[in-house]
Symmetry: C2
Subunit: 340 residues, 2 copies
């Protein structure tokens, strides 16, 4: 039995569940596992788009998802390599599970479907194949090292999931800011989801000064209105010289939450020697960061934003509960993306 689920790998032997072609999705828990009754799958956006474009009709997309899960024992799109996450209710927790979950807990998984053993039992009868949100009956398995968050009863699911999606950022921001003492903190993309949570986390952790950098006047007004930053500046985060000018002086800690490529040099240039840059954007280029700092002779520590920090889900949910400004930005963003 392995906390990483190696015992669930059917083939090829000896790889991690995420790399596996096929997992054993038997809904009988090993001693450190948890079995979940699935309620809904949220497919990764890239995966759903690929399936829709490839298969066209909703029926064909549904058949494709059933085929993948039937064959692989997990919803791991072989073309995009991505998965998604799921909602469900704990059915059974093995006696040695370290996750602290009990039967009846309603949870969201925070690890990818690409490594989660999954069995579908309703042929996805309740899904029309036309949305990433997949109503589903079946079972999933959590390993000793899996991560799941109990869904809070005091906020709508969609808000909780939206927060959980980016909950690594505020937790790591908290840690980095506390370690530094009372640093000045710049958040690139301070108006976004991970950005607004990071602003709130930085201030709570004792930052001496919190600066939000956003791309537009409208976003600047929104962030200013909720009072999450001491200062809001406007610049294109991809333009290093513009970022440095906007910030006017260097900060000790820079948090990168802008999900577009090319923000590495601006982040480095805005950070003082001895400072830290944390990259949360998946659009970050490793080599652009490494070579950029070298080319600027910048003695900054650059951290790859790890999506997992112990206690990250609870921490982020607590921020959304107690920081009305963060909740306001989240809800405004959801109204925007839902087109309302």
């Amino acid at each position: 039995m392995s906390p990483y689920g190696l015992h669930r790998v059917v083939e090829p032997a000896g790889v991690l569940p995420q790399q596996a072609e096929r997992l054993d999705a038997d809904p009988k828990p090993w001693p450190d596992e948890v079995v979940v009754d699935v309620e809904r799958l949220n497919l990764d956006a890239a995966s759903f788009r690929q399936l829709s474009e490839r298969y066209g009709s909703g029926d064909a997309v549904r058949a494709a998802v059933l085929e993948i899960v039937g064959r692989r024992g997990k919803m791991h799109n072989p073309v995009t390599g991505s998965g998604g996450m799921l909602l469900g209710t704990v059915r059974e927790a093995g006696p040695e599970s370290p996750l602290g979950l009990k039967p009846g807990d309603r949870i969201a998984t925070l690890v990818s479907l690409t490594l989660t053993p999954l069995r579908i039992t309703d042929e996805l009868a309740g899904w029309d194949g036309k949305s990433e949100q997949v109503p589903c009956r079946g079972t999933a398995v959590l390993f000793g090292r899996s991560i799941a968050a109990v869904l809070p009863g005091d906020m709508p699911d969609h808000l909780a999931l939206s927060v959980l999606d980016v909950c690594g950022a505020p937790a790591l921001t908290d840690r980095v800011v506390r370690r530094d003492g009372d640093p000045s903190v710049l958040v690139l993309g301070g108006g976004g989801k991970s950005g607004s949570l990071s602003l709130a986390a930085a201030r709570r952790a004792g930052a001496s000064r919190v600066i939000a950098l956003v791309p537009t006047e409208a976003e600047a007004r929104a962030v200013e209105a909720v009072g999450l930053a001491d200062e809001v500046v406007i610049a294109d985060a991809r333009d290093p010289v513009a970022v440095a000018r906007a910030v006017d002086g260097q900060v000790s800690v820079t948090i990168v939450c802008v999900d577009v490529p090319g923000c590495e040099h601006g982040a480095v240039l805005a950070t003082a020697d001895g400072g830290t840059v944390v990259f949360f954007s998946m659009a970050t280029s490793f080599s652009a960061a490494a070579l950029g700092a070298e080319g600027l002779a910048a003695d900054v520590e650059m951290i790859i934003g790890n999506g997992y920090v112990p206690g990250h889900a609870e921490f982020a949910l607590e921020l959304i509960r107690t920081e009305p400004g963060v909740r306001e930005l989240f809800e405004a963003r959801e109204r925007q993306t839902s087109g309302a």
Copy 2:
């Protein structure tokens, strides 16, 4: 005047020298600059390969390099985006230069040619266009923030350059190990250039146990013979489960010096919660590292290996002088690559 050389950018206005289409290569130093008489350019391997494949004959390759430098004011290959470095002798140092260089110092630049103003005055008459090593007369400019190392008189140029090429790794290893106290340290790729320097740096910095992971029996014997590690283990660094098995337990600090893609998960799996992974390989994938750690619920800090740490050149040269084992591995590797 800007320590980053913004005043040398001709077009487009307002970008950093590396992003510029064209730099002003006038060999008259601004107050914080240093002007160098160039002796040799070392073209980046990828750049030279592209030029050779595109232009064929040595004469045509030479003409292409002259055209690029004439037009851009720097040797910045527009196709590969890469440059290289140069050797030369300091001609003049501006009164406000912080680099500590004086006329007559023989130096190597440690910042890329892609951001170094360069003028060629001999039409590259001494170069046949058939090697990355380009004998060259001309001038280059170092900014306040540029990095250059004085070439040591007590070792051959080729050895010094080979060390300077990877000198960020041992310096950052030293810093991370000291910060941790007396951690156990694993070096993936411990038989290579940056790997062997990192092993030596880790031990000097007080690591309680130093493990080298290498891919082959032959390399294991070579590392064992020079005594740089307490333990040498053999595994494919791209196979996370194999890495974890080989290490048998987790370490506090893992240094990744293997220049092939796919080593992120093994590094994470080998590192204990609360530990640190430093990625020096340019083949590192940002997203594989971030998502890998999350998928394994690993609370490890992942650092992007910054090629610049103050004092890094002197530190690495000192290691090669005083650690016969490191020098032996370097020289063996050079004999290998030169085919001798």
